[in-house]
């Protein structure tokens, strides 16, 4: 316990004491300290011993002498190590000893900023005199930690510096895990963790600092990892009976466990949060410092902090970083094949054979489902966009060369650019079918692929071609279609897939067609619009027989009987 160096009687102060831990951006820390001092709050500042003498002098000079200002014993605080706790203890002791009127002590850092007038906080605390505000979460329960060690913080040995000897730190952790080396938590300590920044009542803080077994516990915590997030959080459980397990300091951590910075554009967000203190500010956020330190008007009615909105804001950002926007391929999001389920941004439908079997299928579907239906997007000549457009949404060109240069991206771009409107297009073996594209669609859970196999023959059958001239072509088309269907019927697909042979489909075309369309468009107007007409199939059986006799393996047509 340090003794009071001031022979004069303790200065009159408000009931709220501020302990500040500072190591960088001291000019900002000085501004904040002055804010508290002006509100009659005593301030005890700990400055990291790594800060040079010149900077320290400038800092002291900027603050000037003040009856409510003290500087505490300096420690060298490396992130995640004991001296941070030691510094906090020393500064807190000094606060309690030298300022007798202090009822609550608020622990802050040099880059924290008060968001509300100091009097509002003091008054709010006055009404909660014996309550301790400290986030204190039992390690058995909530997944409080973002990445890294959790319970092991308490049960392993950490002789190496994480910052300076990361490899040794990691190695030793792994060795201890491997061989089951553990240290025991001294009873009756119940390990708890939580935000480093707390606000404790005089009684509780004294209870912790004057605890009969403090030396024993201090020794234990010296060996744990990141004790600044567990020492007070654990000790408080033994001495306090009125804990509110939340921090009055708003801190949002990112995925690496670093506090998110606040900038000028967060002003409204911070203001509406009604939190008392926020951490951590970008030192050059001039607008925030100007606004929050300039003496806001104190409000009449007491208001509780409402951090939900700001929580949501940062959660969304974290989600964008970790999950990204589905179906987006861009310079800083390029998922590898197997790392995502949805490869595109929205559901779409691929129809194979429908356009050949039914008259004006695209027109009919467009009316029935009230959407714009493309033709064959992958036709060899060009991408047949709806209405024959040369350019479509997102400025996608109908050039076949551009499309085929990167077919996946062509499709992914189209789906991304038309989010909100379901895309439908025809696709068959005459198109620029590539295994890459086939696999891309078959493994995309947004794809609905419906195939009536064998329909590729119909245009040739109806057209004025000599069979001998097109025989090779038919063989080629059939082979490609089979390859496509083999992919669709493999076990790796995740698309919504329907495959019929032409004969199967003709058994109940009405039902199959409406089922398919309804799966994509539950609201489709199928009753009012008659089903599209099937083109004439007279003589088709003879045609197939003829093909078979010419030597074509009629794989998918063998069951065709009319």
């Amino acid at each position: 316990m340090s003794t009071d160096p001031h022979p004069t009687p303790a200065p009159q102060s408000g009931p709220l004491g501020i302990v500040m831990l500072c190591h960088t951006a001291l000019h900002r820390a000085a501004q904040v300290a002055q804010f508290w001092l002006a509100a009659n709050c005593p301030v005890v500042i700990h400055v990291d011993r790594a800060v040079g003498a010149a900077q320290m002098d400038a800092f002291k000079q900027a603050l000037g002498p003040h009856p409510l200002l003290r500087f505490s014993t300096r420690f060298r605080c490396e992130w995640g190590t004991w001296p941070i706790v030691a510094a906090t203890q020393a500064a807190s002791e000094q606060m309690l000893n030298e300022f007798a009127q202090v009822e609550h002590v608020l622990l802050t850092s040099g880059s924290c900023i008060p968001l509300r007038p100091a009097d509002e906080l003091a008054e709010w605390l006055e009404q909660r005199r014996d309550v301790d505000f400290i986030e204190s979460v039992s390690i058995g329960h909530a997944p409080w930690i973002k990445g890294g060690l959790s319970e092991e913080r308490f049960t392993l040995y950490f002789p190496f510096s994480w910052k300076q000897r990361k490899w040794a730190f990691d190695l030793l952790v792994n060795i201890q895990r491997r061989f089951g080396i553990r240290r025991d938590v001294p009873r009756p300590l119940q390990p708890h963790m939580g935000s480093q920044w707390w606000c404790l009542s005089r009684k509780t803080l004294q209870g912790i600092l004057n605890h009969p077994k403090r030396a024993r516990y201090d020794r234990y915590f010296k060996g744990t990892w990141i004790p600044d997030e567990s020492y007070f959080q654990t000790m408080v459980r033994m001495v306090s009976d009125r804990i509110e397990s939340r921090s009055l300091t708003l801190v949002k951590f990112d995925r690496n466990g670093r506090p998110n910075l606040f900038y000028d554009d967060h002003l409204q967000l911070l203001r509406r949060s009604d939190c008392f203190v926020a951490r951590k500010l970008w030192p050059d956020a001039q607008g925030l410092y100007d606004f929050f330190l300039s003496g806001q008007i104190m409000r009449e009615t007491p208001i509780d902090p409402q951090p939900a909105k700001i929580d949501r804001y940062f959660e969304l950002a974290a989600k964008q970083r970790s999950d990204g926007r589905a179906g987006l391929y861009m310079q800083s999001r390029f998922p590898l094949d197997d790392s995502i389920n949805a490869k595109t941004a929205a559901p779409y439908s691929v129809f194979c054979g429908f356009q050949q079997l039914f008259r004006n299928f695209d027109f009919w579907l467009g009316n029935a489902a009230n959407c714009r239906v493309h033709g064959h997007l992958f036709a060899p000549e060009k991408a047949e966009f709806y209405g024959g457009a040369k350019v479509y949404h997102g400025a996608i060109s109908n050039s076949a060369a551009l499309r085929d240069y990167n077919q996946r991206m062509f499709l992914a771009n189209l789906i991304w650019a038309t989010r909100g409107e379901r895309q439908c297009f025809s696709y068959n073996s005459r198109d620029k079918m590539t295994p890459d594209l086939n696999w891309f669609m078959a493994t995309d859970r947004n794809a609905q692929i419906s195939v009536i196999s064998g329909c590729f023959i119909l245009p040739l059958f109806r057209g004025d071609y000599k069979v001998d001239d097109v025989l090779g072509h038919i063989g080629w088309l059939q082979r490609r279609e089979q390859e496509f269907i083999a992919i669709l019927q493999s076990k790796w697909t995740s698309a919504d897939i329907r495959v019929w042979t032409l004969a199967e489909f003709l058994q109940d075309p009405q039902r199959f067609l409406s089922e398919t369309v309804r799966a994509a468009f539950p609201d489709a107007q199928l009753a009012e619009n008659d089903l599209p007409q099937i083109g004439s199939l007279d003589g088709f059986e003879d045609y197939l027989t003829h093909l078979r006799n010419l030597g074509l393996p009629p794989v998918l047509l063998q069951d065709y009987k009319r």
Partner: protein
């Protein structure tokens, strides 16, 4: 074993590149050197240019406002007063050279050298005078906020894809005046027609597309210019750009994207190429033959801009702000909230 060999080859390639930069630095003549004014922590801009007088005032002001501390520029034989103008700017250090742009890997060697010499320990921004960086929150946060944050995330490089902007109507219809914001004229862009592929060797993404692919390379898409850029790097002496700012060595610097579904933060380099100045530029550059792949890009502009005149189409998007680009998915704020 194979991996080690590949590593060694990459290291050799990088060192060759650095040696080459050193050799090519002999071609540079210092015209005015104010690099003594560079302060610790300054963000430095590096630029090669030729006859760009009309664009310079806006360019310099744009980046000064973002917080660039010093400009290091190589003037490749300008004769329109560019040299004299730059000499008069207090935050510009200027080198001049009459040597071949093509022979110096299109300026990469010169700039690699200047970055090696002055860039180490600083965030460096390599941009042409018609490229304007847009990054998340650029309307409210200075570039320093971004670099501070990148540093806190342990990131060394930041990507900004090139986004070609164009006017509505013939490019010659609205003349550009010095000092004017070029995007008052070239306000339009292609939102979603980009092709991305991954370059296995250097791990960068290969991005092509946009208006240049649509209007000029419809038949030969593989010849469309690359749009992936990594212009902002926390520079160290061992780094080198390989070709333009598309690729860097060591290759870890090219890994500016997330490959497990998430989004890294990224920006956009808005490209004010398609102004009325391009017609004269295309003629001049064709005559000099100092550009990539036999200046075929300029040949295409010369042809294309005369035939069609208008790059605009029904599905062109009009530029509003960075938030729009982020919603469209051209850039991302990642988790920088």
């Amino acid at each position: 074993m194979k991996a080690i060999r590949a590593q060694l080859r990459l290291r050799a390639q990088r060192q060759t590149k650095l040696m080459r930069a050193l050799r090519k630095s002999l071609e540079l003549k210092s015209r005015v050197n104010r690099t003594a004014d560079i302060r610790q922590g300054d963000i430095l801009a590096f630029t090669t240019l030729r006859n760009e007088l009309v664009r310079l005032p806006y360019f310099l002001d744009y980046y000064r406002a973002q917080g660039v501390g010093h400009f290091l520029m190589v003037d490749n034989a300008s004769d329109d007063g560019t040299t004299e103008y730059l000499e008069g700017q207090k935050d510009v250090s200027l080198w001049v050279t009459g040597a071949s742009y093509k022979q110096s890997c299109f300026g990469v060697d010169w700039l690699n050298h200047l970055q090696w010499r002055y860039g180490a320990g600083h965030w460096t921004l390599v941009v042409d005078v018609d490229e304007f960086l847009v990054y998340p929150f650029c309307d409210t946060r200075p570039l320093h906020a971004l670099t501070d944050w990148l540093e806190s995330q342990g990131r060394k490089s930041f990507s900004a894809m090139l986004l070609d902007m164009y006017p509505k109507g013939p490019v010659t219809a609205q003349p550009y005046c010095s000092g004017q914001n070029p995007f008052e004229i070239a306000r339009w862009f292609d939102a979603c027609n980009y092709s991305l592929k991954r370059n296995g060797k250097l791990q960068n993404l290969w991005i092509q597309g946009g208006v240049r692919a649509r209007a000029f390379h419809g038949a030969r898409p593989e010849q469309a210019p690359a749009l992936n850029q990594t212009p902002l790097v926390d520079w160290a002496r061992k780094y080198a750009y390989v070709s333009s700012t598309h690729m860097l060595l060591p290759r870890g610097l090219n890994k500016v994207y997330d490959d497990s579904g998430g989004e890294q933060a990224s920006g956009v380099l808005m490209h004010a190429k398609f102004l009325d100045t391009i017609v004269a530029k295309a003629r001049e550059e064709l005559a000099r033959g100092q550009h990539y792949a036999g200046s075929r890009e300029y040949a295409a502009y010369d042809r294309g801009l005369q035939d069609q005149g208008d790059l605009w189409c029904d599905f062109s998007t009009e530029y509003i702000n960075w938030r729009q680009l982020e919603i469209l998915g051209l850039m991302s704020k990642g988790d920088w909230a």
